[in-house]
Each structure stands twice: as structure tokens, then as C-alpha cells.
């Protein structure tokens, strides 16, 4: 039976979040009430774990670092089929960059016990650095392969995977225990079911802070982040737009005229 950890991030719902703008006066982000969802790519990481569970049997642990509302996301992952969840929550974790985030997650994975595979979505919809998976691997002294679109061979402890690469893909052989970051092409996440939600009632979610992880506060959150945001500015990039008016046909004709003058048609 495999021991799998899936790292999941609770992110603001991407379409609503795309309206978030730096306030030009306060030079910071306004507090908007945007609901949290599972980072879309993490759903594919989860599904990869579920498929392995179906094939070989597995114990799947969800790991997420975030403020208390992120607990709902962990619960949702369990309702989808994971066996237990760990929410890393602590005011000290706030303001973490990718490095501090990966460090904290890695410490939790270590504390949780032996693991065979750590799945992560290749990036988050907010942030989108792609750094956390590989950095977790480094802290755990594990090999990593990023942007996996297909798991070709998964028997035993030496896997063969197909990963996105320059103008194509690469075939990679990787020895477990390992970190694997996944793309959307890997699978189709299955939907939430009422029966899954009911089954989740008996499964456990633990909450750990930095003391539970036995790491000093200086190594996590903003304090533990080598990078820091120093400035946020609103950018106004303006051109003098001419709106094309008229009936549909008139607008189409004018449009084609513009393209023609530009040498496109």
C-alpha cells in the first residue's frame, strides 16, 4: 500500500480573483470576499492519488498551509476521497514566499511519517511561481519531476512518467520516494458526491502550527521568506481608443477597413 501526500492550496476562485486590483491610493490589495476553492491543478494531483489508491491501495493524506478557512478545502478533499487531512495554520505562517511555504510543507511531510509519493499541482492560480514542488523535494532530499502529463509505469518504486518539455515532452525515470508535480492533461478529476461527503464525517483533520512542527518562528512565514514585496504600484497604460460604432454590419465593415489599412487583409 502506498503512502501518498497531496499538497493542496486553497486559492481565491480564479475568475472572481482576476478582478482583484491594487488600490492606487493605499497601494495594497483590497479585502474582497472571494470564496476559496481548491487550486485547480491540485484537483488533478488529487485525482492521480485516487487512481493509484484504486489500483494498488493507498493512504492519502491532504496537506495544506493556510488560514483557518482553508480547512473547508481540506474537508472537501477528504469528501472527494482522501483518508485524512492536515491543515498547517498559524499566524506565523502568514506572508510566506515559495521558499518558506515549501520549507513548512516539507517539515510537515517529515513529521507525518514515511511517504512514497508527494503530488502537487505544478503551480497555483494565485502566485503561479511553480517553485513549491521542487523546493519541497530539495528539503526532503527527494528527486522531483515537474509538469507530468502522464504516468506511464507506476508499479514498484521506479516510475516512468511523461512530462511537458520544450516543443514536446520528455520521458523520465524516477525513483520513489519522489515529488511529482502535475499538469491538467494528467487526468479528469471526478466530481464531489453526496456519499463522499457523508463518508468524510468519520475522517480526521489535524491542525498543526509551527510549534507542532518543532520549527522556530523565524524560519516560517514572512520572517522565513528570503524574498519580500517592497512595493505595489498601479500601472496605467493608456492608448487613445477609438470606439467603432454603428450597426453590426457597419462595425464589421469598419473593422475590415482598419485591417486593410494595416496591411493585414
Amino acid at each position: 500500500m502506498l503512502n501518498i501526500v497531496v499538497c493542496v492550496k486553497a486559492v481565491p476562485e480564479p475568475i472572481a480573483a482576476s478582478n482583484l486590483k491594487i488600490d492606487p491610493v493605499t497601494k495594497s490589495l483590497p479585502r474582497l470576499d472571494i470564496p476559496l476553492v481548491i487550486n485547480p491543478l491540485d484537483s488533478h494531483a488529487l485525482e492521480a492519488a485516487f487512481q493509484l489508491k484504486k489500483k494498488y491501495g493507498a493512504h492519502i493524506t491532504i496537506l495544506s498551509m493556510g488560514p483557518p478557512p482553508a480547512g473547508n478545502i481540506v474537508r472537501e478533499c477528504i469528501a472527494l476521497g482522501a483518508d485524512e487531512g492536515i491543515l498547517l495554520t498559524d499566524p506565523a505562517f502568514a506572508g510566506a514566499d515559495a521558499f518558506a511555504t515549501a520549507y513548512t510543507l516539507a517539515k510537515a511531510i517529515e513529521k507525518n511519517g514515511p511517504v512514497d509519493v508527494v503530488f502537487c499541482g505544478m503551480s497555483s492560480s494565485d502566485g503561479a511561481t511553480e517553485w513549491v514542488g521542487p523546493e519541497i523535494a530539495t528539503f526532503l532530499n527527494m528527486p522531483v519531476v515537474t509538469m507530468v502529463r502522464e504516468i506511464v509505469e507506476d508499479q514498484g518504486d521506479e516510475w516512468i512518467v511523461k512530462a511537458d518539455y520544450e516543443r514536446g515532452y520528455r520521458m523520465v525515470k524516477i525513483k520513489l520516494p519522489a515529488v511529482i508535480t502535475v499538469t491538467r492533461d494528467l487526468n479528469h478529476p471526478k466530481p464531489l458526491s453526496f456519499s463522499g461527503i457523508i463518508k468524510a464525517r468519520s475522517k480526521e483533520i489535524s491542525e498543526w502550527n509551527h510549534e507542532n512542527l518543532e520549527i522556530p518562528a523565524e524560519l516560517v512565514g514572512l520572517k522565513g521568506s528570503p524574498t519580500v514585496v517592497t512595493e505595489m504600484t498601479r500601472v496605467e497604460s493608456r492608448r487613445n481608443v477609438k470606439l467603432i460604432e454603428g450597426s453590426l454590419q457597419e462595425k464589421v465593415d469598419r473593422f475590415v477597413q482598419i485591417l486593410s489599412e494595416a496591411g493585414v487583409v
Binding site: 485547480p40 516543443r167 514536446g168 528570503p226 454590419q249 493585414v264
Partner: protein, 335 residues
């Protein structure tokens, strides 16, 4: 090179038949940063048959190339590359380390940063030396620009996409040092790239297209997306996308134009059903004419273009395509 000399380093990447364009662009930028700091540019290059590539890197502005030349380094192997590069960085102690955000760069950069316990910024579109001599890394986000710094840890690391910085003018008379680096004797690798496969690319390449149609969330659904694709086809244009379209599953990440995608410089850019988010717009550089089609009169995209049509793209685009089909003949130029 004296080991206490602070320097600006670049990790260059070999590709079939030469060097990745972004690597040379970063060498050019590193040269400028180094001149400001009064220091030197070092480049690390791993691969095989590197002599000409190293010479080109020097011509692009490097003072030093640390080259590791071996068949064991082709194709890219994450653990071996990380091991070699980390050793060199620890030895040479650069202030700044830049990497192109290619597929290799995006996996390698965090592995190096984590080993060195230093900061790493993604999707930089500007690098500026502050008055205190610190590297200010600028990334577009939330309709504006965010400045990130790595105040204490070294090196200050950043990844930059192809096309953000200009290609440097090559100076064949520039002098520089090439040092050969030995591979570690025995290095068991737990992860290995077995083989790289190239897939057929369809359509007009975004990087070279002179006309680009970019689609966003306004396409509505796969059917709407196909309508936009038809428009691009009829105009013989490159067809790009924004993140919402990729997230919706209508197209691949490869087609995404923007801060964490491709940087393009067409003559004519037509943005359809997108809101003109800064993260996307920074990917469009130097377009002479920018046009937007969006059904929302309030859309911020209309502040960033030369011509705008307030119309549901699902209504306008089919009508436009119909009209273009009836036009006699036209040619979309490709550089």
C-alpha cells in the same frame, strides 16, 4: 577570477544547434547590470560541444564562461545539473543569478534556490539595481506592478521569459575566459530524463507572427473558442490565449501570452473577449495597432488599445469571419 569578486551570473541553456535565445538576452541584461555594479558577468553552461556556444556567450557580453562539456549532460538531468551549478555558485559567490524560464529553467531554478537557501522570483519583466545596490525584481500582478527584493540571502535569483529583454548585439572582439568544469566522479541519479520527443506544432508560431489574435474568457465555451480560431486562421494570424481560457480547458498553456507565458511582438494585435489584464498585456510588446472586441463597455481593455468594438464576440466574430470570407484575397504576413 577572484572568488571575493561579486558578479552577475547567468545560467545559459544549450538547445539543438545553439543557445536558447533567452540565455543570450539574459547575458545582455547581465552585462548592463554588471556595468552598473562595477562588476563582472559570469555564465554557467552545461551541455556538449560547447566551444562555439561559449564564444558566442562571451561575444554577448560575458567575462567568464564556466562550461561543463560532457555527453552525460545531454539531455538535461536535474540532479546532476543542480549538483554542478550549486558547487560553482558556492565557489564564485555571485550577487545575482539569472535563469531563463524555459522548461528546464523552471525546474532547475527552484532546485538551485532551495539548495542555496536563497530567494527566487518568477516571471520578472524588469530588473533594476536600486540605490542600495540591491536587485529590484518587478513582476506584473493585480493590474499593477509588484517589486520584490531578496534583501539578505545570496545570490538574488530570478527567472525571466524569452523576449522580455532584447537580444544583445554580438561583439566578436570581446575577450573573456572559458573555464572547463569537471563533472563529479560518481553521481548516482534518482531521476533521469530518458529521452526528449518533439511534437508537431500547428498553426502560425506566436513568436514570429505579425498578426496575432488573442482570445479570453469572453469566448464563453469551446464553440465560441472555435469561432476565434477560425478568425485567426482566416487572417493567417498567430492564435494566442489568456489564462482564463487555459484554465477553462479550451487551449494549452503553450498558447498563453503574458507574464507567465509567451512574450510576443506582432504588428497588429486583436484581443477578443479578454479584459486586458496586465499579466496578459505585458506579453504584447511593440504592437503598432491594438484592437479589442469585448461586450462590456466598461472593460479595462478599452483603455489599452487603439480601436475597440463593444460587442459580444460570439456575435461579432462570426459576422467578421463571414465578411472576410467574402473578401477577394488577402495575405497575413509572417516574418
Amino acid at each position: 577570477m577572484p572568488t571575493e569578486s561579486a558578479a552577475v551570473f547567468v545560467i545559459a541553456e544549450q538547445m539543438e544547434g545553439g543557445i536558447q535565445p533567452v540565455s543570450l538576452q539574459l547575458v545582455g541584461k547581465a552585462r548592463k547590470l554588471a556595468d552598473e555594479l562595477g562588476t563582472k558577468v559570469g555564465v554557467i553552461l552545461l551541455g556538449q560541444n560547447l566551444t562555439n556556444d561559449s564564444k558566442k556567450i562571451i561575444a554577448a557580453g560575458a567575462d567568464l564562461v564556466l562550461q561543463a562539456d560532457s555527453e552525460a549532460l545531454v539531455p538535461y538531468q536535474s540532479e546532476l545539473y543542480t549538483e554542478i551549478i550549486v558547487k560553482l555558485v558556492v565557489e564564485h559567490r555571485p550577487e545575482i543569478l539569472l535563469i531563463g524560464s524555459t522548461f528546464m529553467g523552471r525546474e532547475l531554478a527552484p532546485l538551485i534556490a532551495a539548495r542555496l537557501e536563497t530567494g527566487l522570483t518568477a516571471h520578472c519583466i524588469e530588473l533594476i539595481i536600486s540605490s542600495e545596490g540591491i536587485l529590484e525584481q518587478r513582476i506584473p500582478a493585480y493590474g499593477g506592478m509588484i517589486t520584490i527584493v531578496c534583501p539578505e540571502k545570496r545570490p538574488q535569483m530570478a527567472t525571466i521569459a524569452n523576449g522580455v529583454f532584447p537580444s544583445p548585439v554580438l561583439n566578436p572582439d570581446k575577450s573573456g575566459e572559458i573555464i572547463s568544469i569537471e563533472l563529479p566522479k560518481k553521481f548516482p541519479q534518482r531521476v533521469q530524463t530518458l529521452e526528449i520527443f518533439r511534437e508537431k506544432l500547428e498553426g502560425v508560431s506566436l513568436e514570429t507572427a505579425s498578426v496575432i489574435v488573442a482570445g479570453g474568457a469572453g469566448a464563453g465555451d469551446p464553440e465560441g473558442w472555435n469561432q476565434l480560431e477560425e478568425l485567426a486562421r482566416i487572417l493567417n494570424a498567430g492564435f494566442g490565449s489568456t489564462r482564463p481560457a487555459v484554465d477553462a480547458g479550451w487551449t494549452e498553456l503553450e498558447t498563453m501570452i503574458g507574464q507567465s507565458g509567451k512574450i510576443v511582438n506582432p504588428d497588429v494585435y486583436i484581443g477578443v473577449g479578454l479584459s486586458g489584464e496586465l499579466q496578459h498585456m505585458v506579453g504584447v510588446v511593440g504592437a503598432k495597432i491594438m484592437i479589442a472586441i469585448n461586450k462590456d463597455a466598461k472593460s479595462p481593455v478599452f483603455e489599452k488599445v487603439d480601436y475597440g468594438v463593444v460587442e459580444d464576440c460570439r456575435v461579432f466574430v462570426p459576422a467578421l469571419v463571414e465578411r472576410l470570407k467574402n473578401k477577394e484575397s488577402f495575405v497575413g504576413k509572417v516574418r
